[in-house]
Symmetry: C2
Subunit: 168 residues, 2 copies
Amino acid sequence: MTISMYQASVPSLMRTLNNLAAILEKGAAYAEAKKIDPAVLINSRLYPDMFPLGRQVQIASDIARKGAARLAGLEAPTKEDDETTFPELIARLGQTTAYLETLTPSQIDGSEEKSIVLPIGKETMTFEGLPYLLYFILPNVYFHVTTTYDILRHCGVELGKIDYLGKP
Amino acid sequence: MTISMYQASVPSLMRTLNNLAAILEKGAAYAEAKKIDPAVLINSRLYPDMFPLGRQVQIASDIARKGAARLAGLEAPTKEDDETTFPELIARLGQTTAYLETLTPSQIDGSEEKSIVLPIGKETMTFEGLPYLLYFILPNVYFHVTTTYDILRHCGVELGKIDYLGKP
């Protein structure tokens, strides 16, 4: 076992998106058990100018999909942000992990110094591959997965750290 | 530039704890500006059975300090959980990054398959070094840093993603 750009990216991203899908399943089950309209949870947010749950999930999926594609030097498939239900959000995560699964170590390994140009609004930012992975993709995906978890916890859904980390 | 166990751990952990310290500075400034007792923010939580802000910061610091020490095969310095103010929490993060700074690449590199035995309550869990770093230390630290950010945002502190990610 060695550490490589592939090893540090694709398996971690797939793992956390799979954990996120399981967290959303628990959110959906909670809404059903408590007879809450699932849209209430999907539109919940921690503060008026923060994104609601549904958008957090879309962004987590986007950063993982586009981030891994950029490391591989590929154009990521585009995705409309049109999910409004838990099953749709879970399906989006499934599409994202299915895409990540198509990426191979040979496409991503060696991308430590690859120049990555990132559109940020009307500007662009340029990263090298390694800091892009370690200081942008990973913390960013974990941010949106954690915030989804935090929104559901704040709404009363019973989740524990193991739901976020996944089984060892 | 190559990716190694050191490269994927210590700089990322130092970076996110430094970002967390800057986030706490903004929390302290907000409390002062709004004439809110800082203890109110430090004891805020997103749900009654979640940890409050102060504990989130302590746990982020513990996981980073103990995690990096275990990869290096060292015993991490112990730390009382006795911080009750923003300056004390920020100082704890400073002590943690100062400790991380003492760890060298030669101590951590090559720990991909090192056996890591982790006390979890009365049980122990055994990881290899690489999954311990990628699937436990990093997501766990980002979880507690994000939840601290989410608690402060929920309390009205003006923070943006750049505070969490840090300047590129």
